[in-house]
């Protein structure tokens, strides 16, 4: 059921990326902060990241498993996953990620000039 939802969200979002609005650097930076806080612990690089593990199993190398390395994400796809959840990933409430923060997140993940990993693994360590 969830796998079907995954495919449906992905299919619906094809072609919609072109009509998304260009975001400014401040929005993208805010999106980076949202990503670092909410997405990175599951979708970052390295071992033990459940989202990265699930993506690797799902795409079997046809797409990068690390979310920040993806270049095919669309705002609708990202919003669909965040608000509906998928597999073990729960839905995120608006007290966790507001609609404005979700817009910034989608800007960060879809409008960067190139794939990059800017988020720190886990804050500064002494």
């Amino acid at each position: 059921m969830r796998a079907a939802a995954w495919c449906r969200i992905a299919a619906l979002s094809v072609g919609l990326a072109a009509i998304s609005f260009a975001a400014d650097e401040a929005t993208i930076e805010k999106g980076h902060q949202v990503y670092a806080k909410w997405c990175l612990p599951c979708h970052g690089a390295g071992d033990g990241k459940p989202g990265t593990i699930a993506s690797a199993a799902h795409y079997k190398g046809s797409k990068p498993a690390v979310l920040e390395e993806r270049t095919d994400l669309t705002p609708e796809m990202i919003k669909g996953f965040v608000r509906n959840g998928v597999y073990v990933m729960p839905r995120f409430r608006k007290t966790e990620i507001t609609d404005a923060e979700l817009d910034a997140l989608t800007a960060y993940l879809t409008q960067r000039s190139e794939p990059r990993s800017r988020a720190p693994v886990m804050g500064p360590h002494r």
Partner: protein, 526 residues
């Protein structure tokens, strides 16, 4: 969305209008697309009518707003279900126990009010997660550790109130708290312990204050809304070391558990450990799987001898000064040497602070007080979620054998494979007792979920008949478990109900939480 029980659509609309006036219209959620975000992502009732659906959600930003929300709920008799970060996944998530209840979402109350690294404590609001507090401490360079449960996005307050556990010397999270601020059902604000003293200088340094110690009645309960809570933190230790103990024979469990109990109760071992049966090794060895089919104890003993493993394996964690840890490990080995053929192996060893590069190389940093979400890989990449059966058992070899055999038999009787998770030991999250944690996958399949609920309920009853009870449970089973805590004609539940009816006469706070129902809903349930 369902209406709160007994409330007309007009009255509910009036109440929502008043709530919007208090918290702002953007923080009252009544549209389906927003309210559905509060449904339990790991519900054992997927595609079934029994899944609890909230009527709405309200998200205040301050204690004063919580007071006003509670007063409105009282006026209209709207049941409200409090969540902190809403990440109690596996135990109900952000959803209420019954449909029509309105969620009181405290996620916006996410202030870290104080962290003191000289007296080692913190004071936080409910929306503060383990990640939040950890990042704050790192950014400020403070010399204190938090203790996290496996899911780092949880709330310190929510997890402690659910009496969750972690790994370090501060692993009993409710026990590690010091002082609360609570909004009662009538809107009054109470501070417990030394917090009752205006301008107290020791709210987070002495738990008990003066008079009856009431903090416990606000844990796993529905008698108040906790809006602040203090926690004792662990001074950053100099070192961590983990040593592995391998006992070769099945019957070694008796002496192993006895010595382990001594080591833990004496404080020699000062973190969470667990006893792993080799039969539960992860990843499973195909050769072991073959041996297990109809295998005798001696077959398994021969297998572990050939593989140079232990029949029972225990990892002992030590936190503190490096020289002391070395002495503790030597002492532990000396005590455990009463087990013939026991083997020891040095494990992970760290000096603190760690660099970011060191942290990045640690697969599961949670035992080092570093929050993570690694645990959510537990059911595999296609997992839809999980829930847990988690009874407390004595810290003895006899109990380990009795309980595991009992639960395995329940699964067998119901024609299902055991829920014992490969690689999962029998844990010691809490002092003086073990907790067994069995894994239940959440399926988006009605029949599979029904089967799992049947197994779960049989396990609860089988455990109770032998004197074992759960420390915590999913909202779906709260009534079942409260039912078996039945000494003296359910005297404990009757006491809970007396307190409930006194402190919350309109029954607005979290009806059904931990099997405690307000009078007006008890009658309907009888």
């Amino acid at each position: 969305m369902p209406l709160p029980p007994g409330l007309s659509a007009k009255d509910f609309a009036d109440a929502l209008k008043q709530l919007r006036g208090i918290v702002g219209k953007e923080w009252v959620f009544s549209e389906a697309e927003d309210v559905n975000l509060y449904r339990d992502a790991y519900s054992p009732f997927w595609h079934e009518q029994e899944e609890p659906i909230p009527s709405a959600a309200v998200a205040p930003d301050s204690v004063e707003q919580v007071q006003q929300v509670v007063r409105i709920a009282n006026t209209y008799k709207i049941p409200i279900w409090t969540i902190s970060t809403g990440k109690n996944l596996g135990y109900g998530g952000s959803a209420p126990q019954s449909s029509g209840t309105m969620v009181l979402d405290l996620k916006r109350m996410n202030r870290i009010l104080e962290v003191n690294d000289k007296n080692h404590y913190a004071l936080v609001e409910p929306g503060v997660s383990y990640f939040d507090l950890y990042r704050y401490i790192q950014e400020k360079g403070l010399k204190v550790w938090i203790d996290c449960p496996d899911p780092g996005w949880g709330s310190l307050i929510g997890n402690a109130l659910e009496r969750g556990g972690g790994y370090t010397p501060m692993r009993d999270h409710f026990d590690a708290h010091c002082g609360m601020e609570v909004v009662l059902a009538n809107g009054d604000v109470v501070r417990t312990g030394m917090g009752a003293l205006p301008n107290s200088k020791t709210w987070q340094q002495y738990k008990y204050g003066f008079g009856p110690y009431v903090d416990g009645i606000f844990s796993q309960s529905n008698l108040g809304v906790v809006t602040k809570m203090g926690f004792w933190l662990y001074p950053e230790p100099e070192a961590y070391f983990s040593g592995t103990v391998m006992a070769p024979k099945h019957d070694d469990i008796f002496r192993l558990a006895e010595v382990l109990t001594y080591l833990m109760n004496s404080g020699t071992v000062n973190g969470t450990t667990g006893v792993l049966n080799t039969a539960n090794l992860a990843p499973p060895d195909p050769a072991l799987a073959a041996v297990r089919v109809g295998a005798s104890t001696s077959d398994l003993e021969r297998y572990v001898a050939e593989k140079n493993l232990g029949y029972w394996t225990v990892d002992l964690p030590f936190y503190g000064p490096a020289k002391v840890i070395a002495a503790q490990w030597e002492f532990a080995k000396e005590k455990l040497s009463v087990i013939p053929g026991v083997k020891f192996q040095d494990g992970a060893s760290y000096r603190f602070p760690l660099s970011a590069e060191q942290v990045a190389k640690i697969l599961n940093p949670v035992p080092l007080g570093i929050p993570s979400l690694t645990t959510f890989a537990i059911g595999g990449p296609k997992s839809q979620g999980h829930m847990w059966f988690s009874p407390i058992i004595p810290m003895t070899g006899e109990a380990v054998l009795e309980a595991t055999a009992l639960f395995d038999q329940v699964y067998k009787d119901l024609g299902s494979p055991s829920g014992a998770l490969p690689g999962f030991p029998i844990w010691s999250f809490f002092p003086r007792a073990f907790v067994i944690i069995y894994f239940f996958p959440i399926e988006h399949d009605v029949e599979k979920n029904r089967k799992n609920r049947e197994i779960f309920r049989r396990l609860v009853k089988a455990a109770a008949e032998k004197g074992f009870g759960e420390y915590r449970t999913h909202t779906a089973f709260m009534n079942d478990i409260m039912d078996v805590y039945s000494y003296n004609n359910h005297a404990l539940r009757r006491l809970h109900e007396t307190m409930k009816d006194t402190l919350d006469p309109n029954g607005i706070l979290a009806p059904g939480k931990n099997g405690i129902w307000p009078r007006r809903m008890r009658k309907a349930r009888a």
